[in-house]
Symmetry: C2
Subunit: 105 residues, 2 copies
């Protein structure tokens, strides 16, 4: 769902990916990584959608939090598996969210 983040500034990681035909293990690992990320101290929220292209945006309080997540052991194992099995291509963008606004009916 739409992430209920705190006031800017905060950080976002935009992860955009194209998948191989290998699906085995992907959903389980993806859910496991989201649960693991939620346990990290300054992880805020995550948003995800996928058609041919997959987009996952996770929100974090600081660059330090992002670095710690990058070096988390289980996450590193998952990333290796992603490179070997699940992704043909991906791009990671580290962003400083400077401003946000919303609309709700």
């Amino acid at each position: 769902m739409i992430a209920n983040t705190s006031k800017p500034p905060y950080y976002a990681i935009i992860f955009t990916s194209l998948h191989t035909n290998v699906v085995e293990g992907y959903d389980a690992m993806s859910s496991s990584m989201i649960e693991l990320a939620k346990d990290q101290p300054v992880f805020l929220r995550v948003e995800s959608a996928r058609n041919e292209l997959g987009i996952t945006v996770s929100y974090w309080e600081s660059l330090e939090a992002i670095k710690a997540w990058k070096h988390h052991l289980e996450h590193s194992v998952a990333r290796e598996k992603g490179r070997s099995d699940w992704y043909t291509k991906f791009k990671v963008r580290i962003c400083n969210v400077e401003k946000d606004y919303g609309f709700e009916k």
Copy 2:
């Protein structure tokens, strides 16, 4: 597809949305807005995926470019239509992309 952006820094707009049951006119307007954005002078690229949640990320060279796009007449009309007909909720996040890296098989 995955956007082939230039080297950071550049800007991203993360647009996350939940839709109403009204679909009439949406796809046509969405395509038309993407084409219009591509005609703007410092628009870089766009990425989009949608399940229940829709995520569209567009990339721009500067905040000035984003402001000009926000005030573009046709885009303003589309945004009003979005609020009245197509979206129950959305969030817009303006981000400075500080770093990026990718992987390709």
